[in-house]
Amino acid sequence: MHLVPGHSRTPSFPLDGIKCVLESFFIMANQPLPLSQETLAQFNRSMSTEPGASGPPRRRLGSISTRRSSKDQSKDQPHHRPLFLRSMTLPSSESSFLSPTVSNSHISMGKRFSFAGWHQGGRVSFSGLYLQQPIQEVYVENTYRMGPEPGCRFNASRTQQILQATLDSYLEGVCYSPDSCSQLCQMLADLVLSKLKDVNPPRYKVVCQVVVGQSGKQGIRVSSRSLMNPNTDNYTSAVFHNHSLFAVALVHGLYFE
């Protein structure tokens, strides 16, 4: 797979329970294509149409991380945008439905696409970048399952222990510093998530939030309320503080059919 240098490859997501969608080759010009995130953002901006969730749904279990600090209000990142980007990597052995008629369909959309080359049956976007193979739809059989299995619920106490241990080990002796703490916060959230993914029972979605602040004379209160199914879902939290900083971590586990 040939990629333009300077563009990072997107990480591949775990394949368990994923339904992939066969992408039709007669694609609308404004439908997002599987590209790396930067090129896709560029593509979407230049299209200046809303990259809506049109077409068959594609379910992905992927991680999204965000960061917010109290001081930078001016940089309001379009934080919801990545949700519409469906960048995927695929094994290159997937068969492609490429046909010569694709060029006609593109032109009929009102855009001129330059087909710079057809290496290994790869498609090219309007900007000349090579696109990845289309995603094959995988149909999963019905499991006829109404709820999680008896031993497979979200274990709040075990999660709490993991959370507390992670916070303690990671933040022991760390001093608050305004430049590095935003990255520390993000890293902590990702670290907790990766640890939880190992112990997580199947069919559970996880939301993890970390708040880190400087320990001063101020008061702070963090509260959370959620609308969820008490039979299957749960949450835990852990707090850490030392002389210079404090950290609060919240984890919610939500069952999904």
Partner: protein, 115 residues
């Protein structure tokens, strides 16, 4: 349990949610100063009101609403979140609000449920 691919799949709209959140915050701590006694009931009412407003929209989502209120004293505050979910249907939105004496950060996470 058959899943209906009716094509009517709703995805979370962060803009709508952030408007709801902003109105709730304004309504509760709009013109007041930080007070240690009251902050408890402020955060509780912010999350409760936000949650009820979101539920009133009638969308098929589970919600998590998180609120942090901090007094302004020159100290720094960072929040981060990391989520393992279906990126096509689920989403989150974070709203930062401040006045003269305090910061308020509210995060809303919406997780789709299969109908």
């Amino acid at each position: 349990m058959e899943e209906f691919h009716s094509g009517d799949e709703v995805s979370f709209s962060p803009d709508e949610a952030s408007n709801v959140v902003k109105e709730c915050i304004e309504g509760i701590i709009g013109g007041v100063d930080y007070s240690q006694n009251k902050v408890n009931q402020w955060t509780a009412s912010i999350v409760e009101h936000t949650l009820t407003q979101l539920v009133k929209q009638g969308k098929p989502f589970k919600y998590i609403v998180n609120c942090a209120v901090m007094q302004k004293s020159g100290a720094g505050l960072h929040t981060a979140n990391s989520c393992y979910w279906d990126t096509t249907t689920d989403g989150s939105c974070t709203v930062r609000w401040e006045n003269r004496t305090m910061y308020c950060v509210v995060s809303v996470f919406a997780v789709a449920i299969a109908l």
